[in-house]
């Protein structure tokens, strides 16, 4: 291939634009792309794997030079990936790695490893006893959430900590989080820590706990490192930790990889961003007031 | 599937259908009280009675549309339990309903042959060519060969739809044919054609049950007549052994004389003047006046354009040419709301289609057009509303006189009275009445005529559109006749007669 085209067009494929994390990722990718002089086009899959597949086809038909895709929590997408390969365009995955590996580069966190780190924070906080409640985002086939939960579980298993799984999904949102938490609080007299698979649900759960006047006895731990969550951690509330999954860090490396690929260079296939577990100690330094997320 | 004419059985007078001791209640209403009645092959058997007497209920019981609480139905001497209309149909009992049972989005052919469309012998696929042929033949035998069987049924006029209903009922040779007020929407000539066909059917051995409020038709057509009152059988007798006055006495329990009220001469006042009014495709160049205290009758055959004129004056449809003056000012309503604001009210002819809100009470329906008058700051004054509606219920003898009753549970005639009550409550200065007594019994008609007469005497202008000749003749100060969208005749009260109106309406001067 030739030298890097400064006016290259990059297609950004996102599974959805409804959740703040995905919006933040798209904006970060656009900003990083602009810095390097790329044009960007965004296709929003509306949460539907089939629409994502159509989006990829459309962007290829439009003649983009490369694709950056954030299609978490989809696990693999053999059909569309084959189409990209056939079109001979480079593809960089961000956030979510696809099994099957026909991509050129992947940048993301290791949800399980960070989950383990978060689990350590929880285990330390609980001191080997008490009740840990876990709230899932859902649906059942969301492996991102499953990896995070497994990571946490690996550190609390075989300790004196009792596990309590919320039966209903929090649907990754504040309102889902508050609803599930309210019902759990009504039923369970003792809960010491609540782990939610993302910060949005956790922020909702925190409200429910406050409404039930049990802030003193229940701490919450989330995932993602959403701005509002970091603020809570900095303030020293009962929000005691989160796992970092920073869209800006991932996007920066992702676009870097794309630029290199367009320039015909070889790049590292899988890049795991540094494992950062956010606690009161490091929260202040990780808080970026201008971040959209 | 064979057309009605195919078989040729004789008039043997055998009893084919018997209702024995049939009892039916709807909640608190005792609709049929131990009715026993027998119908013979080759005979036209009329059923008459006041509104709510139980005529339609009896037909429903005979066809299986409703079950009975007591008693039973015998067909050919064997007792049958009819649970659904299909049970009745399988036994050859077919019915032309008082209301529409057509599928508007299908062709005439398909409506007539619904459920037994002809199929191609080998493939089993519908054979449309054969179907259209079959339907056309059916209408030929009925006496309406001109009806285009490929038309969409929804585009037909009320009269044409009625004919399709009849064709549907006879598309399978019926052993018993029930006609519930089939002539309510038919014009004079069409009634003649229908009668001719019914007689032919009878001659081939069909038992015909015929329900009508037009007593003249009963004497013209039926051999025997049964009178129902309050759900009970008053008697069955040959038509030759009675007369109109006798039937009325049996129906109502008393004689009805002076059907039409005595009236004071019209007084000068506001008036409606219509000049050169037209609506493309419906009527053209229509000019007439209606003055305060005057009842102007408008006669014409079905489809002559009378209803369209009324709708244009009322703003329900828009005229394409012409001017209207009302109370000395030019007036062109663009909506019914505007017309009502100017004191013009229209009772439409289709009570189920655009008259009543089924599912709502008599109270709500009767006050629908006068809500502004009975509300303060948009809030209804319930006591005032109740008082006004109850007064109308008494005046028009609506039965049952319970204003909270759902109108869907009323008999056809009583529904019509509720619609009339709605318009009487508007305090309109010009009242346009399109077929106001359709389906109403003779006693109630008299009450309604009385009300209309008194309204006119109090200075209200009335335009009375009707296909009921005696009604037009009896009520009107002047009569206008429409034919094919044109105003073709004007008669004073003295010079009008049945013959002259008919001749004018059908173009046989």
């Amino acid at each position: 291939q030739q030298a890097p085209k400064r006016d290259a067009t990059i297609g950004i494929v996102t599974l959805q634009m409804r959740a703040p994390y995905f919006v933040a990722m798209v904006r970060a990718l656009e900003a990083e792309g602009a810095k390097r002089g790329f044009k960007t086009v965004v296709a929003d899959g509306g949460g539907d794997a089939a629409k994502v597949s159509s989006d990829i086809e459309d962007l290829l038909a439009r003649g983009v030079d490369g694709l950056i895709m954030n299609i978490s929590p989809l696990e693999s997408l053999p059909g569309p990936m084959a189409a990209i390969k056939k079109a001979g365009k480079p593809v960089v995955l961000v956030n979510r790695k696809l099994t099957g590996g026909e991509y050129d580069a992947w940048v993301g966190v290791d949800n399980r490893v960070i989950g383990t780190g978060v689990g350590e924070v929880i285990a330390k906080h609980m001191g080997g006893k008490g009740v840990l409640m876990m709230m899932r985002g859902g649906p059942e086939d969301n492996s991102t959430g499953n990896a995070r939960r497994d990571g946490v579980l690996s550190k609390v298993k075989d300790t004196g900590i009792q596990l309590l799984m919320a039966p209903e999904f929090g649907k990754w949102t504040e309102d889902g989080g508050i609803r599930v938490m309210e019902d759990m609080l009504a039923k369970h007299k003792q809960i010491n820590v609540v782990f939610c698979e993302n910060d949005s649900m956790c922020l909702g759960a925190q409200k429910a706990i406050a409404d039930a006047k049990r802030t003193g006895e229940i701490s919450v731990v989330g995932f993602d490192g959403q701005k509002s969550a970091i603020e809570q951690i900095v303030m020293g509330t009962n929000y005691i930790g989160s796992g970092q999954n920073s869209p800006s860090v991932i996007a920066r490396i992702g676009v870097e990889r794309m630029a290199a690929l367009l320039a015909g260079q070889k790049v590292e296939k899988d890049t795991i961003t540094p494992v950062v577990v956010i606690t009161k100690e490091n929260a202040a330094s990780l808080l970026d007031p201008n971040s959209p997320f | 599937m064979t057309p009605a004419i195919a078989s040729q059985s004789s008039r043997d007078g055998r009893i084919v259908l018997v209702a024995e001791g049939v009892d039916k209640r709807y909640g608190g209403t005792h609709a049929l009280r131990g009715v026993t009645i027998a119908f013979r092959a080759g005979e036209i058997h009329a059923i008459v009675g006041e509104n709510g007497a139980g005529k339609s209920t009896l037909t429903r019981v005979l066809t299986g549309a409703t079950g009975v609480d007591a008693g039973h139905i015998q067909v050919d001497g064997a007792a049958h339990e009819l649970r659904t209309p299909l049970d009745g149909q399988r036994l050859g009992i077919r019915m032309v309903h008082q209301h529409d049972t057509l599928v508007p989005n299908l062709s005439v052919t398909e409506n007539v042959l619904l459920g037994h469309l002809p199929r191609a012998p080998r493939t089993g696929w519908i054979d449309w060519r054969a179907a259209h042929g079959l339907a056309a033949a059916l209408f030929g035998q009925l006496g309406w060969p001109e009806l285009d069987v490929r038309q969409r049924t929804g585009a037909l006029s009320a009269a044409q739809r009625q004919i399709v209903e009849i064709a549907k009922a006879i598309s399978i040779e019926p052993r018993v044919l029930i006609l519930d007020e089939p002539t309510a929407t038919l014009a004079h000539q069409d009634i003649e054609r229908l009668f001719a066909f019914v007689r032919r059917l009878r001659d081939r051995g069909t038992a015909v049950i015929y329900i009508s409020h037009h007593l003249d038709e009963i004497f013209e057509l039926a051999e025997r007549v049964t009178v129902l009152r309050d759900g009970a059988l008053v008697g069955t007798l040959p038509t030759a052994q009675t007369d109109k006055a006798g039937l009325i006495r049996m129906m109502v329990g008393r004689a009805i004389e002076d059907l039409f009220p005595q009236r004071a001469p019209p007084a000068p006042g506001h008036r409606l003047s219509v000049h050169g009014l037209a609506r493309t495709g419906a009527f053209a160049d229509v000019s007439f006046d209606v003055g305060a205290g005057e009842i102007v009758g408008m006669y014409g055959l079905v489809g002559s354009g009378r209803s369209e004129i009324a709708r244009c004056i009322f703003g329900a449809d828009l005229a394409t040419a012409g001017t209207i003056t009302w109370r000395d000012k030019p007036f062109a309503a663009r909506s019914p709301k505007q017309a009502l604001g100017e004191g013009i009210a229209l009772l439409t002819e289709d009570r189920l289609g655009d008259g009543l809100v089924r599912g709502m009470s008599i109270r709500d329906n009767a006050s629908l057009a006068s809500m502004a008058a009975i509300s303060r700051w948009g809030v209804l004054r319930k006591n005032l509303q109740r008082g006004r509606v109850e007064e109308q219920v008494r005046r028009l003898a609506i039965r049952p006189p319970d204003i909270e009753r759902n109108v869907a549970a009323l008999s056809g005639g009583n529904q019509q009275k509720v619609v009339l009550a709605k318009w009487l409550l508007t305090d309109a200065k010009l009242l346009i009445l399109d077929e106001p007594t359709r389906g109403v019994d003779i006693a109630a008609k008299r009450d309604i005529y009385d009300v209309i007469g008194r309204l006119a005497d109090s200075g209200i202008a009335v335009l009375l559109i009707s296909s009921d000749l005696p009604e037009v003749l009896g009520m009107s100060d002047r009569i206008l006749v429409m034919r094919e969208g044109r105003l073709v005749g004007r008669f004073g009260r003295a010079e009008a007669s049945e013959e002259r109106l008919l001749a004018s309406a059908s173009g046989l001067h």
């Binding site: 309210e182 009504a186 | 017309a339 604001g341 008259g355 809100v357 629908l368 909270e404 759902n406």
Partner: protein
């Protein structure tokens, strides 16, 4: 709940049934309303038998707070359904009301924020109603389209969640007035008002009548487009109010709030006896539909029903509920 259960003690006996009903029928209506009530008590009994946690003050408090949003949305939906329409855009309007409430609160204070939210929601509804009634388009498709349009507008207004710092921001949704939440009181007030509107005002009666026979209503001199427009306006208003209360309760306004809320609202109306296509439905019935759905969700969490069985159970309970309502109607 208790106060509003018997509001019409003063009125004549015939009227007391109908104060909350959208129809003024006799026996039929009473049945329709009774059956959902029975279902409801059945559910309560099941609840009480299977879990101690249900009849605790805390849980009942939760429940009463959880149903507020769906309660308000369903009420607006009912009014629209009575006209023979449907409003799929409610979820997007919830988000619209929510983000405006949060967006304006810090700058202009809570009352102004609430006013902004409700005004915007009403406007959105009025636009729905205008398009539907003036151009005589099918409500389903129009509100499906505006559902997308309004959602787009919400995301253009803010693509990330807003969390205002105003100290009394959470009062509307979370503050208690005596034993119940402010939100619940607002909701009950809206139910009373809607019932009054539908039964005692000229426009309300016209709204109900339109669903029965629109042509008859038009010929009776009622301004049908205006009436329909008002119905959608009310739906928008109530949805935006629901959004504001919800966001106040959450303390954060997500632009993605309210997705698929229309389904629960329609379900509540139908469980309460409403007929899609118009002509039937009651305010009291809808209230019980809302409670029924709320209790199903709450109960499944208390009983610890696993997440994907929850959808299954909820679906089955809904079918059962409408089956009971339909049986009741027939008898």
């Amino acid at each position: 709940m208790t106060a509003s259960d018997r509001p019409a003690e003063t009125a004549a006996p015939k009227d007391s049934r109908a104060l909350f009903s959208a129809r003024t029928l006799g026996i039929e209506l009473t049945w329709r309303e009774l059956i959902p009530v029975l279902c409801f008590f059945l559910l309560l009994t099941v609840a009480a038998t299977f879990t101690d946690a249900f009849f605790t003050e805390r849980n009942i408090g939760n429940l009463l707070r959880q149903i507020v949003a769906n309660g308000l949305i369903s009420l607006g939906m009912l009014i629209v359904i009575l006209t023979g329409g449907i409003d799929l855009s409610v979820g997007s309007v919830v988000a619209l009301g929510g983000v405006l409430f949060a967006g304006v609160a810090d700058r202009l204070g809570i009352p102004a924020a609430l006013a902004a939210a409700v005004t915007a929601g009403t406007l959105a509804g009025l636009i729905n109603g205008t398009i539907i009634s003036r151009f005589r388009l099918q409500p389903f498709i129009v509100t499906l389209a505006t559902m997308g349009i309004i959602r787009g507008v919400v995301f253009i207004y803010t693509e990330s969640p807003l969390s205002p710092r105003h100290e009394s921001f959470r009062d509307l949704g979370a503050a208690l007035v005596g034993p119940v939440s402010m939100g619940l009181l607002i909701m009950l007030a809206c139910y009373l008002a809607a019932s009054f509107f539908l039964n005692r005002t000229a426009t309300g009666r016209a709204t109900v009548a339109i669903g029965g026979n629109v042509e008859a209503v038009r010929l009776a001199g009622v301004n049908v487009p205006r009436t329909i427009t008002i119905a959608y306006g009310l739906s928008g208003m109530l949805s935006a109010l629901a959004g504001a209360i919800l966001v106040s309760r959450l303390g954060i306004a997500q632009p993605s709030l309210g997705a698929a809320y229309e389904l629960d609202a329609i379900a509540a109306c139908v469980i309460g006896g409403a007929v899609l296509g118009g002509g039937s439905g009651s305010v009291l019935g809808t209230l019980f539909g809302v409670f029924t759905l709320g209790i199903i969700n709450n109960l499944m969490n208390l009983l610890g029903v696993k997440s994907f069985y929850q959808e299954l159970v909820k679906g089955a309970v809904i079918i059962l509920a409408v089956l009971l309502v339909a049986r009741g109607r027939k008898s």
